[in-house]
Amino acid sequence: MSYIKIDQNKCKSCYLCIDACPYKLIKKSNNTGTTGELTVEFSDTENKCIGCAQCAIVCPDIAIVEVNRE
């Protein structure tokens, strides 16, 4: 099972990762981040994540701190 880790303290809510994920596994969370907007969270109930790291590559704030591939 592939998965990613997001550091909520680093996320600035630019949502570039949302667009980058080919499986739309990242969505807005309920958590308000440092910029006053909702941060993002990883939710992969169907184990779709392939660990491609595209989300991490586009994140300008090194908020996606880990990508683990099965």
Partner: protein
Amino acid sequence: MQVYSIPNSIKKDSKFTFCKGCDHGVAIKIIAEIIDELNLRENTVAISSSGCSVLLYDFLDIDCLEAPHGRACAVATGVKRAHRAKGEEKFVFTYQGDGDFASIGLGESMHSALRGENITAICINNTNYGMTGGQMGPTSIMGQLTTTSPLGRNKEYHGFPIKTAEQIALCEGTKFSARVALYDVKNILKAKKTIKKAFECQLKNKGFSFVEILSSCPTNWKLSAQDSHKKIAEELTKIYPLDIFKDTIDD
């Protein structure tokens, strides 16, 4: 298996202070990855400059020296030559804005290229003076609205912008000059490959290497991160084409 983690050359617990969605963060991250991959961390002195890039030393876990606005290539020249005088080759690169490299510092930048100074210069082209609030800079495009071109850049009144990577490629001492962008994964990976090549140019002791990075400035462009990337992809790359303008590393 962990396939991605924060590069070792980024300071632990470091948090970028750029505006949200700003490409500076991506640029610094890929530079850190290359430093890791080429195992340069312990032999590098980086030169930061005035502009949004100034806090480089807060993010990179390598030796860093801040240059006065525009003088990064001259400072890098001094660093490189001084270590050489002791018989040591340090890896020396600058990280500068477009205003820093191509306006106030154009003399220092171009003469470093002309001399074939064996350093690497990275220039973040966000088409304005970002740090001071988005004024018209040397790379602001025709028609661009900035705080000092409120009616849009106009050739009669303001004159023309500079195509930095093309100009630097013309210098005899330049061995590598390219322009890249960071607006999607494909381009980020390509940018990384290109910067790596520029770094290797220095490691092979070939001469001046230069990479201009077309970067977003969502704050001063007053666009979202997504729309900024769209603007780069659809508008800026037409004016500032992505290409390698010179590669004579292996000549």
